[in-house]
């Protein structure tokens, strides 16, 4: 059982992964896909005159503020455009893919964080009406039902919250929770970088191995989006997933390469 997540950052090309997934599915492998869509969401949100809003919290870390209108744009791009286009491409390659958002069957269920703290001019403000949440439970029975019938689930945020509304959930952490729930042999997280780098400007500075019991050893090199990726990876390994590989989507056969160790292996 392999779970593979492909990010939605700028410059990530899903074609090579989809072809590789089709080959491995044809060879009989049990697979689940998870995807992002952040770059396209930002593009559509700008085009609709509702650009993404980012806030800086007291810790200094940036986060997205998701009001209802932003959530609906997020759903349009993730669950509508990106998900359907990936499923269409897999179907065209004879893979019986089924797209699901985390709302479907409460596939990704957790707590809503309805407010976010924002520091502006040194003052902390509370912004209410945020549609962000965590993934605390995965409906693995729904995934097993589909997998046992031969389908390949293609999963997208948002998730469903205890507050009765859909919420933006982090795709990397969602992939980690899915891999854990399915007791996957491996979770592969693909993006536009070759893995965790000591120097983000130097691909040859790749860190080939992270000990899931001692992630603090690489803490100095963890920046920006890599926080969620590494956090999701460590939790997944601690939760029983065989290994997690952070690797590049933009190489031939990206899933094969990652599973052969081309990337940062968290174990």
């Amino acid at each position: 059982m392999i779970v593979v997540k492909i990010g939605g950052g700028e410059g990530i090309e899903p074609g090579p992964l989809l072809a590789n997934v089709a080959q491995r599915h044809a060879a009989g492998e049990r697979l689940v896909m998870v995807h992002g869509g952040s770059h396209e969401t930002n593009r559509v949100a700008e085009a609709l005159g509702h650009p993404p809003q980012f806030v800086t919290g007291p810790s200094g870390r940036q986060s997205r503020y998701t009001d209802r209108a932003t959530l609906e744009i997020f759903e349009m791009v993730y669950a509508g455009k990106v998900n359907t286009t990936m499923v269409e491409s897999l179907q065209a390659q004879d893979v019986p893919a089924v797209g699901l958002s985390g709302v479907d069957g409460r596939l990704l269920y957790g707590r809503r964080k309805a407010s976010v703290r924002s520091v502006e001019n040194g003052k902390t403000k509370i912004l209410r009406g945020d549609h962000t949440g965590t993934v605390d439970q995965v409906n693995h029975a729904l995934l097993t039902l589909l997998l046992d019938a031969g389908y390949l689930p293609v999963i997208s945020p948002p998730g469903m919250s205890d507050d009765g509304v859909a919420v933006n959930v982090d795709g990397d952490r969602a992939a980690g929770a899915i891999a854990t729930a399915l007791e996957a042999d491996a979770l592969v997280i693909l993006s536009n970088v070759p893995g965790l780098l000591k120097d983000v400007s130097d691909p040859s500075s790749l860190i080939r191995h992270v000990d899931a019991d001692r992630p603090e050893a690489v803490a100095p090199y963890v920046q920006g989006r890599m926080h969620a990726k590494l956090d999701g990876a460590v939790r997944a390994v601690q939760g029983g997933v065989g290994r997690v590989v952070l690797a590049s989507a933009n190489v031939p056969q990206p899933l094969d390469a990652a599973l052969q160790g081309e990337g940062t292996v968290v174990q």
Copy 2:
């Protein structure tokens, strides 16, 4: 087994239907929902600077021309926004809804019509690159798998075509094909009119019954969107569906009302 389709025309409010579906699901009824999204698609397409394109064919009938950009907007609104919002609302009412587009598992599969004839200034032109298709096969095994496990499928166009691409399919005809494939006891098609009217400006001119063996008897009253609705209804009854009711979505308990005969019953 009941299949209910709610249109996406202007002024159609899904709230009453969703509450009614939740009640009937809680009472143990086997249900499938199908929905449209045309008005919201037109709104988003305008906002994105890619307004809907309509052409007039040699028969004088108007049809939509769906280029790739339009298809992707269509997917964003139907499979992204409208579908996810309906599933979210059902989940909030404790219904284990699962949203699917016709691309998922080739749920709605058929032939692509890649070109459309357009009459302009008396000359017929062929427009290529259309993404429109028919529904010739329904993956009823996927629906039965979900229904048997207690889920309520919520289905949206597009469909998948023999050409390997997603296509815009008519929602009413898709609902008819789904009801036929599931051998449904009834198909209810809800919109912003109370049924087939002799005079579209007079709701009291409702035609209460259409004989599925003699639909030509009401042909003088069939206009615009009612063509597809009645065609879908007649084919469904001919295909074995117990009865089809065309009725209003904008009444309290719209599904109960339609099943009690409030609307145009095709049988």
